[in-house]
């Protein structure tokens, strides 16, 4: 079995795990939750074996290198780090709901890698600029950071959902339409990624489908939300809001260390490849923007005592910056038209 086949299968196991966790959360079926944890294990192991296999295959092809050199390989590694982070949190905090919000991200990353027509799963030889030992250190540190931010993002979404439920229960008198708006944007964005970029639909159709998806989820949420009992059941197994808040903060701290290390290893690499450690290249700049956003979150929290909702917003904003650093930079105009000298060998 080749690594790409194994990884394609792994994609669906991540999908199964995500569905099981969501079902386990909504329908309170212990069986679904148990199936969920088993499928995460299978997916993480399959992901790891696929990664190793791909590494070995590249050596059999005579162009051996760590499978961390293109978008496909980085997405596979990203999904793997999210899966492992999920297992760590699951066993450390014994909560079965968090997976319903983090595993879909692992599934989306794998699905994007395996299903998108724009991403080739061929093992390609390394171009000269990538032939560096810093490649491995750089990619690993960056993606551990990204995975931590992804988990923090899932927790922030949970936090906002919980706030909305509390408002509906009348426990909280605050009415925050902003929460609803953020969650809508998140849903539409998620749908757009799924339909436009993974399934490759046209932008208009993708946006329409994403809006429909958001509408359906809203309708479902509204129907469920009308019943106090259902609401209580849905949210009773969420972690305490204070724990979600704390976990967001901790995952962000963890991610921040690795993001810093990722930027640093990237700088050192750039200095040995191109003779400059920092060149305000759009990718570099966006990683710094991400760093600024999370630095703001940490300062606001530690020094000004921000908590809860505001931290959740910043964490979501930070993850949007992560996604843009990762994918969006490729969409920017006219990037490689300048400095043809250095760009040529990239």
């Amino acid at each position: 079995m080749t690594s790409s086949m194994l990884l394609s299968v792994t994609t669906f196991i991540y999908g199964l795990a995500a569905v099981c966790y969501i079902a386990g959360w909504i329908f309170r079926r212990p069986l679904a939750a148990r199936l969920g944890i088993w499928s995460v294990w299978v997916a993480v192991v399959g992901n790891g074996v696929g990664f190793t296999l791909r590494w070995m295959e590249s050596y059999q092809m005579g162009i051996g290198h760590a499978p961390l050199s293109n978008l496909y390989e980085s997405l596979v590694f990203f999904a793997w780090t999210i899966g492992i982070s999920h297992l760590v949190i699951e066993y450390r905090y014994h909560n079965r709901v968090i997976g319903a919000f983090t595993l879909p991200l692992a599934f989306l990353a794998m699905a994007y890698a395996s299903l998108s027509p724009h991403i080739s799963d061929r093992i390609q030889p390394l171009i000269p600029a990538l032939k560096s030992n810093w490649l491995i250190a750089h990619v690993i540190t960056c993606f551990i950071g990204y995975a931590a931010f992804a988990v923090g993002f899932g927790l922030s979404i949970m936090y906002l959902l919980n706030k909305l439920a509390a408002a509906a229960d009348g426990e909280s008198t605050e009415q925050r339409p902003a929460d609803l708006l953020v969650l809508q944007l998140f849903l539409v964005g998620l749908g757009l990624i799924l339909f436009r970029f993974i399934l490759g639909w046209s932008f208009g159709v993708g946006l329409g489908a994403a809006l429909l998806l958001a509408g359906l989820v809203d309708l479902g949420g509204w129907l469920l939300g009308r019943h106090q009992r259902v609401r209580t059941e849905l949210f009773s197994r969420f972690p305490e809001p204070s724990l979600m808040d704390l976990l967001t903060h901790q995952t962000v701290m963890f991610g921040f260390v690795f993001l810093s290390a990722g930027i640093i290893t990237g700088s050192i690499w750039a200095n040995s490849a191109w003779g400059r450690y920092w060149g305000w290249d759009p990718k570099e700049t966006w990683s710094l923007i991400t760093w600024f956003v999370y630095a703001t979150l940490l300062h606001a929290r530690l020094m000004r005592g921000w908590q809860g909702r505001r931290i959740a917003y910043l964490s979501i904003l930070g993850f949007v910056a992560v996604l843009f650093t990762y994918f969006g930079v490729n969409l920017l105009p006219g990037l490689h038209s300048y400095g043809a000298m250095t760009e040529q060998l990239r």
């Binding site: 030889p125 000269p128 032939k131 305000w280 700049t285 006219g334």
Partner: protein
């Protein structure tokens, strides 16, 4: 009272620059403004901007320095503001916490521990006197035992602590940011970044500077002995390799084969493999006659196929596809086209069947020249004697005395982050009070400056260790 006013203003200035609100505003401003430079390409030629944004748009971008925004005064000012904020804020806070961090005799009060939310209580089947000793042994591992405290109710507690110095972590991170900016400034002030293209076999000691400020003389000449390019079977580039010699007074002082990711570093100057190109074929020597054999390339626009034939001046060639004949009339060492010199060229006569003859000028160095005629065929003539391909290597030449500072700052930042995020000043205290005739109740308390959760885990761990050392918790 003027002195008092000045002091008041100074105080207000200090508290403005020390505020975390300023930090948040500056960080978010940096994040938002940085986006601009990723959307508008930086440092392009003016024509590019005029084409994309129009002349008025370009003037606007130019006025706000948005075509080179990361070096614009306002962006540098934001960075400076961040540094001032960091320095003032750190100094202010460090002044306050200095005595806490570096005290020789820290003070503890049992009441403070008792108010802490972090505590664990358990019962043990052992006498308090025995247990006190156990507690001290357990706390002695990993913690520095500090004092025995007596509460107002007469109960005694043993207290210990660790990682007091970790309160310095945040200042270490801040120091690293200041060092980064300092390293960047050193590089900007005393370094340079340039490039040079050197044909194989040639040497130069002058490079062009990246910022367009002219050229720079190096203390040695760089000679490109050889450039080679290798590709993978699929055509992707595999390696660019330049053999470089550094010359001073005609003597080779250093030699190295450089590839991407493996530069030559010599006397603080770094030479990187950056690009390459093919040189145009060399001109025939002055006054030289026509090449003995000429290669004639004919592209038929009708079929899209191209054909290659050979001939000499005076020959008449039959064109394929029944397109007629081509006669090579004469050789001109320096021909002209509309007043522009074209270099060596062949004059030829093209006759399509049933049409009037067409006079052609076919410059040897511009194969696409005949395409302009938009005829039925495109004809090009080159020398038939094969010329070896010649390359030039494109080198990036830099000097950056700030790199050392920046790399140290990198290490300091990671260490500082690890200390700040994963260590905290932990103080623990355990009290033992008698319970019944033989038993005791132990309470372990913890106080920390951050990360209560880790403190709680530590307190639980200590409680388990004490219970285990004392022979297991009672009735548990």
């Amino acid at each position: 009272m003027a002195g008092g006013d000045a002091l008041a203003i100074l105080n207000r200035l200090v508290s403005f620059f020390a505020s975390v609100r300023l930090t948040v505003v500056v960080l978010l401003s940096l994040a938002v403004t940085s986006i601009i430079g990723t959307v508008i390409p930086q440092n392009e030629a003016p024509e590019g901007y005029v084409q994309a944004f129009g002349p008025r748009g370009y003037r606007f971008l130019e006025a706000l320095d948005l075509v080179d925004m990361y070096h614009a005064w306002w962006f540098q000012l934001l960075l400076l503001l961040l540094v001032v904020n960091i320095v003032v804020c750190s100094v202010e806070r460090l002044r306050a916490s200095w005595t806490i961090i570096f005290t020789r005799s820290p003070r503890y009060r049992l009441e403070r521990f008792r108010k802490s939310a972090v505590q664990t209580e358990f019962k043990v089947d052992a006498a308090p006197e025995v247990l006190r000793q156990t507690v001290r042994t357990v706390l002695g591992k990993g913690f520095k035992r500090r004092a025995t405290l007596a509460g107002e109710d007469g109960i005694e507690g043993d207290c210990a602590e660790r990682w007091r110095w970790s309160r310095l972590g945040v200042y270490i991170v801040h120091l690293s940011v200041v060092m980064l900016v300092a390293g960047g400034m050193i590089g900007g002030l005393f370094g340079f970044e340039g490039y040079v293209n050197i044909p194989e076999g040639e040497a130069t000691d002058t490079i062009s500077l990246r910022d367009g400020s002219g050229t720079r003389q190096l203390p040695f000449a760089i000679r490109c002995n050889d450039f080679s390019l290798s590709v993978y079977p699929n055509g992707a580039p595999k390696e660019y390799r330049s053999s470089i010699s550094l010359l001073r007074d005609g003597q080779v002082i250093e030699e190295k084969e450089i590839i991407v990711n493996d530069p030559l570093r010599f006397e603080g100057i770094n030479i990187f493999q950056s690009s390459y190109g093919k040189l145009p074929p060399p001109l025939p020597a002055e006054g030289a006659g026509p090449p003995e054999r000429l290669a004639v390339h004919v592209l038929s626009n009708h079929s899209g196929r191209s054909y290659h034939e050979e001939g000499a001046i005076g020959d008449q060639l039959d064109l394929p596809e029944g397109l007629g004949t081509l006669r090579l009339d004469a050789y001109r060492p320096d021909s002209q086209f509309m007043g522009q010199p074209l270099g060596p060229a062949v004059e030829a006569t093209l006759v399509h069947p049933g049409q009037a003859p067409i006079k052609l000028t076919l410059p040897l160095r511009f194969a696409a020249f005949d395409r302009m005629r938009r005829g039925q065929v495109v004809v090009a003539v080159t020398s038939a004697i094969p010329m070896p391909e010649r390359f030039y290597t494109g080198l990036q030449v830099t000097r950056d005395p700030g790199v050392g500072t920046v790399y140290v700052a990198f290490a300091v930042m990671i260490i500082g982050c690890l200390v700040t995020f994963f260590m905290s000043h932990q103080q623990v205290c355990a009290t033992v009070r008698p319970r019944g005739r033989q038993g005791s109740t132990v309470v372990v308390y913890g106080i920390t400056n951050r990360n209560k959760m880790a403190m709680q885990r530590q307190v639980d761990l200590l409680a388990r260790r004490i219970a285990a050392a004392a022979g297991g918790p009672d009735g548990a």
